[in-house]
Amino acid sequence: MKIAVPADDRSMESNVCISFGRTPYFLIYDTETGESAFLENTAAEKHCGAGIAAAQTVVDSGAAVLLTPRCGENAAEVIQAANIKLFKTFNGSLQDNLDAYQEGKLPVLQEIHAGLHGHGGN
């Protein structure tokens, strides 16, 4: 099974990125092989719909679980429609969060924030 986590940098010691849509990388961790890969989030610079495009990247990675501190409603709709489970991370490294998840210590992500509609400017 694969686990996706938004990552500040390409190392297991780096922190979970606080933004899902604008994260620079996604860690894709494979629980069977123990391998980790880092995908670039091409959506990060996008003006509109970054969350949706980031969700598409996660879906395409084949992940079954997404660990993230937060998630917008549009992105969550894509993630949930693809039957990917959402868990809430805590402030800490990728490794710490992965360990916590595997020990069953991460809560299910409940709060889905409303998308930032409109087109910036303010």
Partner: protein, 296 residues
């Protein structure tokens, strides 16, 4: 110089802006329109239109405004994702099983439907809001209303602006607060912009925002200072420093506050207020004439 006694021959589109709501933008727009002989008032603040509360227009004609958004025929979609990759706005996602369309993110470019090799996408109309047009004495009132949850009022504003006075006549455009693209759309066709500012430091900040916007568009502009007291006015100082013409000042007085809170139009209640907005109108009209003279 000839003294103006009427507003006949005033032929201009004025956009009234402010950096945030509640600065008196609607007060200025409504009263300028009411003080004119004949005017069209267009409320482009589609998320919170309130000009109609003052005008209480009659003989309302209502029309729905819709945009085109794609719908997918799941039986035809083979999941090739060409549409997902194409959409610049990321309004589409494919979960592996199905295509999801985020209609409130979609910008109605029509590209995905053209591009889909399986002809799985077609466009359909989606109502995003409405326009109401009515009459209030000398003013034709046009109000746009965006349905809650919809991202963009721009299609509504475009249509509203098509109801501006044709040829001869005054049009006052009450713009959405702020300086986002929706405010830009509202001033696009204006001959002149009026920035309404409050006499506080925060007011200066808001004024700076819209000032930048009108400069960006190269529109001629001036400021109306609202809620003026005797004491020092930071917004006035800003105008003087920046060389922005001050078109008029509205005093901070109890009666104005009361009439405004009761949704009454100052210019229709009292001669002094009518005169105040009348001279604002003429001052503005002179500025527009001045600009035209420079341009030619």
């Amino acid at each position: 110089m000839q003294a103006f006694t009427a507003t006949e021959g005033i032929n201009m589109k004025i956009a009234v802006l402010s950096g945030k709501g509640g600065t008196g933008k609607t007060l200025v727009s409504v009263n300028m329109a009411a003080a004119a002989e004949q005017a069209v008032y267009i409320d482009c603040d589609v998320e919170e239109p309130n000009g109609h509360l003052f005008f209480k227009p009659e003989a309302i004609a209502q029309e729905n405004i819709s945009i085109k958004i794609p719908v997918v025929d799941p039986a035809r979609c083979n999941g090739c994702r060409k549409c997902v990759d194409f959409c610049k706005f990321n309004a589409l996602a494919h979960t592996g099983q199905k295509l999801i369309i985020f209609s409130e993110v979609c910008h109605s470019c029509g590209g995905c439907a053209l591009l889909c090799p399986e002809k799985a996408l077609t466009e359909k109309d989606k109502v995003v809001g409405e326009i109401r047009r009515g009459v209030s004495q000398n003013v034709r009132v046009v109000s746009g209303i965006l349905n809650p949850g919809e991202a963009s009022g721009i299609p509504i504003i475009k249509k509203e602006l098509s109801y501006a006075a044709e040829g001869d006549g005054l049009t006052v455009i009450d713009c959405p607060p702020g300086s986002a693209c929706i405010a830009m759309e509202s001033i696009r066709e204006a001959d002149y912009c009026i920035l309404v500012a409050e006499p506080t430091l925060f007011g200066v900040h808001n004024l700076g925002m819209v000032h930048e916007l009108v400069r960006l568009f190269g529109k001629p502009y001036g400021v109306v200072l609202n809620k003026c007291l005797e004491e020092e006015n930071p917004s006035e100082k800003y105008c003087v420093d920046q060389g922005i013409p001050i078109l008029g000042k509205i005093p901070f007085d109890k009666e104005i506050g009361r009439l405004n809170a009761d949704a009454l139009i100052l210019a229709r209640e009292k001669e002094v207020y009518r005169d105040m907005f009348f001279s604002l109108l003429h001052r503005t009209s002179k500025e527009v004439g001045h600009e035209a003279a420079i341009d030619s």
